[in-house]
């Protein structure tokens, strides 16, 4: 198949995981195009490539937006295997999605077999403070237990989206 020339910039693969409807696609689209899409359309899988200039060095990041629904779990493993960093998203307004992060973490560790794989726990929809079901403390405790960072974001208001962005960049620089 197509062989990439060696001169190409470093390429890293980041995967967004989390249950359905927590805002993985919304966050991804914020990363990529700075846009927020209101209407919900379940993702099967989508892949994007973004070039980032960091300290004069160009880094390419492939972002894979996966399906939250279990229907597509069969194809998820194929991606997990090649992932080099994972963003595990849940919605702070939905406790179930928070509980599901545990499963995702286990799945990833099972495929990658590496406790120190770059991993970020993201609580999305933090603009909906009045509907919050998962406390900040609860989430950050879990992150601490896993030895990862916890960030709360809002894909709608773009709050802390850049923070996530820079954390991801730091993984590879």
């Amino acid at each position: 198949m197509s062989k990439k020339p060696a001169t190409q910039p470093a390429l890293h693969k980041v995967i967004m995981v989390g249950s359905g409807g927590v805002g993985k696609s919304a966050l991804t689209l914020q990363f990529m195009y700075d846009e927020f899409v209101e209407d919900y359309e379940p993702t099967k899988a989508d892949s994007y490539r973004k070039k980032i200039l960091l300290d004069g060095e160009e880094v390419q990041i492939d972002i894979l937006d996966t399906a939250g629904q279990e229907d597509y779990a069969a194809i998820r493993d194929n991606y997990f295997r090649s992932g080099e960093g994972f963003l595990c998203i849940f919605s702070i307004t939905e406790d179930e999605s928070f509980q599901a992060t545990q499963d995702f973490r286990e799945q990833i560790l099972r495929v990658k077999n590496d406790e120190n794989i770059p991993f970020l726990l993201v609580g999305n929809k933090c603009d909906l403070e009045d509907k919050r079901k998962v406390s900040y403390q609860e989430a950050s405790d879990r992150a601490k237990q896993w030895g990862v960072t916890y960030v709360e974001t809002s894909a709608k208001t773009r709050e802390h989206v850049d923070k996530v962005n820079s954390i991801v960049c730091r993984w590879y620089c």
């Binding site: 198949m1 197509s2 892949s47 194929n78 099972r110 077999n113």
Partner: protein, 617 residues
């Protein structure tokens, strides 16, 4: 009607000697038919046997063939999670053995290195004794690439299609499609196409590339290479294209002397083929037919093509010639559409929504295939890269399509506001009624055509009229749909007006052809009636003859002495030959008569139509 085939009788004297065998088409007598099959198989099978032997010599790729896919399912799953371990000890692939190996390792760690080695050697030797096919396969799957585990060549057609899928919805294996595309494009005027073969090394190299799922550009090679590759693929198939089950019946049908009967039987058999086989056969025959159409340039007629490919297709020369001769009737809807591979990320994505849509389907098909291969266990860095790349293209296409669709909505909405709705409606009604007129015309003509087709005793006279009518229909409806979509655009409106006028002309033309067809229909119906009567008569005759035949007791076939037998056989043979020649002469005469009759009918119907027109005027 001629069910018996002297040709077959000649080839297998005594095979159908008993009268009971007349009913062989029905295969009611199971033991009898089975016996026949074996007898025939002996003859047909010789070729196969040779081939099988070759396959075995060729090694694992051919041996594993069909089963490898399922087996790798079982095999891969345990080894997946043990990647690192299997890397250290690649020959040990079974979980159990790995465990024992671990234990052994713990034990041997304490010992000296030499001990370790000897112990391993002993174990290896033990294994060697035990090594059965399955274990060897395991090793192969761990060591080798997809070419050995999931080859496209040398497997059943179904697997070949699944593994080497064309992503545009036409379920042919990629190498077949590529070869046919290339020969259609560059090889039709190549002198001795399919006769001239390429160096074996070149062809096997190409086969390897295809098995490795490399992108191959046949235009870098030449026509003989492409034709040889196609032949190789067909020869390597685990089962003949005609399927082992139907092959004999195909042969029987191909041996029928009566042209119309032969066509009818072949058509039924083609319909009975499994979907993939039917598609592959249709493409090959239509393609070969195209080759023979260019005989002027390539010096290959149906006979020579059949000679070159009959052994490849594991059929007789006669069957292949028959298929080529009936090609237009057997595969009227097969269009050899060139295959365009799914785009790669370096290519520019299309801008036309329709093209985007089509590309999206292709990419999704490709993606599904990559996933399927990965799930079986074929995982490599390259494949993973490709997976992400294809996924990215899909995402881009979807995004582009979304934007395009949004733009379209905006474009459509705007002019709607500008123009009064009543006008739009008026236009639509006008056009719809015009369409209705055309359609009703066609409704009249179509049943006539069907009527002709049912009466398959002779070839259809004038399908062109029917086709032109259909074309008029489709072009008209398409104009309506486009009209619906953009009905308010000024330019479109003009176009529609133009089409209206052309429609009137078409209507006139249709009226004329309709009149001719109606006259012809009457005449042909008469002919049909008389033919039916004849058939009935012949059937009655057959019945009478059949009644006479069983009256001779079966067992009373006298036992001849050798000399007698030989002379009798000789006489039989001569009689058969004579009979055969007479049959052919008869068929030719009948054909000529039919042709003359048809010509007469054509002329008569034209005349009648003209007279009608005159009287009407």
């Amino acid at each position: 009607m001629d069910f018996e085939s002297p040709d077959v009788m000649k080839d297998f004297p005594g095979l159908y000697a008993s009268d009971l065998h007349k009913a062989r088409c029905n295969d009611t007598d199971y033991s009898d038919s089975a016996e026949k099959v074996t007898k025939k198989d002996i003859l047909i099978g010789k070729r196969k046997e040779k081939k099988d032997k070759k396959d075995k010599e060729r090694g694992y790729a051919a041996l594993e063939g069909e089963s490898s896919a399922e087996e790798s399912y079982e095999v891969r799953s345990p080894s997946k999670s043990k990647k690192s371990k299997s890397f250290k000890f690649p020959t040990k692939s079974k979980e159990k053995r790995e465990k024992s190996r671990e234990k052994e390792k713990e034990a041997t760690d304490k010992k000296k290195d030499k001990d370790k080695k000897t112990e391993r050697k002993i174990e290896k030797e033990k294994e060697k004794g035990k090594v059965d096919k399955k274990e060897r396969k395991l090793k192969y799957e761990e060591w080798s690439d997809i070419a050995d585990v999931l080859p496209i060549f040398g497997v059943s057609l179904k697997l070949a299609v699944e593994r080497g899928r064309c992503h545009d919805g036409i379920d042919l294996p990629v190498p077949v499609r590529a070869c046919i595309d290339y020969v259609e494009k560059c090889g039709l005027i190549f002198e001795g196409v399919y006769k001239v073969s390429a160096p074996k090394s070149k062809v096997t190299h190409l086969k390897k590339l295809y098995n490795q799922r490399e992108n191959v550009d046949l235009s870098e090679y030449d026509v003989p290479t492409a034709t040889s590759l196609l032949k190789l693929f067909l020869r390597d198939l685990a089962e003949p294209v005609f399927t082992a089950e139907l092959l004999i019946r195909f042969e029987e049908a191909g041996a029928i002397l009566n042209v119309a009967m032969r066509e009818k039987h072949l058509k039924i058999l083609v319909g009975n083929l499994p979907q993939y086989n039917r598609l592959l056969l249709s493409w090959i025959i239509v393609h070969l037919y195209n080759v023979t159409l260019n005989e002027k340039y390539n010096k290959m007629n149906a006979q020579s093509i059949a000679l070159c490919l009959s052994s490849t297709l594991q059929t007789s020369h006669r069957l292949l010639t028959a298929l080529l001769c009936h090609c237009p009737a057997l595969f009227p809807n097969t269009i050899l559409e060139p295959y365009v591979c799914p785009l790669t990320s370096s290519a520019q994505l299309p801008d036309d929504p329709e093209l985007m849509e089509r590309e999206l389907l292709k990419q999704e098909s490709l993606l599904a295939q990559i996933h399927a291969e990965m799930n079986i266990g074929f995982i490599s860095k390259q494949r993973e890269e490709l997976l992400w790349e294809v996924q990215r293209i899909i995402t881009q296409l979807k995004r582009k399509l979304k934007i395009a669709n949004k733009d379209k909505e905006v474009v459509v909405e705007k002019p709607l506001e500008e123009k009064p709705i009543e006008e739009v409606l008026d236009n639509k009604i006008e056009d719809a009624s015009a369409c209705a007129v055309v359609q009703s015309d066609i409704e009249v003509t179509e049943p006539i055509a069907e009527d002709f087709e049912e009466n398959k005793n002779f070839e259809m006279g004038d399908p062109a009229v029917d086709i032109s009518a259909n074309e008029a229909n489709t072009s008209d409806t398409s104009s309506i749909t486009s009209f619906d979509k953009n009905s308010v655009k000024e330019t479109e409106k003009l176009e529609v007006d133009a089409q209206d006028t052309s429609l009137e002309a078409e209507n006139l033309f249709l009226d004329k052809t309709l009149a001719i067809l109606q006259c012809k229909n009457i005449l042909l119906n008469d002919l049909k009636q008389s033919l039916f009567k004849q058939i009935e008569k012949e059937k009655a005759e057959i019945l009478i003859l059949k009644e006479q035949l069983p009256s001779k007791p079966l067992n009373s076939v006298p036992v001849y002495t050798d000399a007698n037998c030989a002379s009798l056989d000789e006489i039989m043979y001569l009689l058969h030959k004579e009979n055969q020649i007479l049959q052919i002469k008869k068929i030719n005469l009948v054909r000529q008569i039919m042709e003359q009759q048809e010509a007469c009918i054509d002329l008569q119907s034209n005349l009648d139509a003209l007279l009608k027109n005159k009287s009407a005027a």
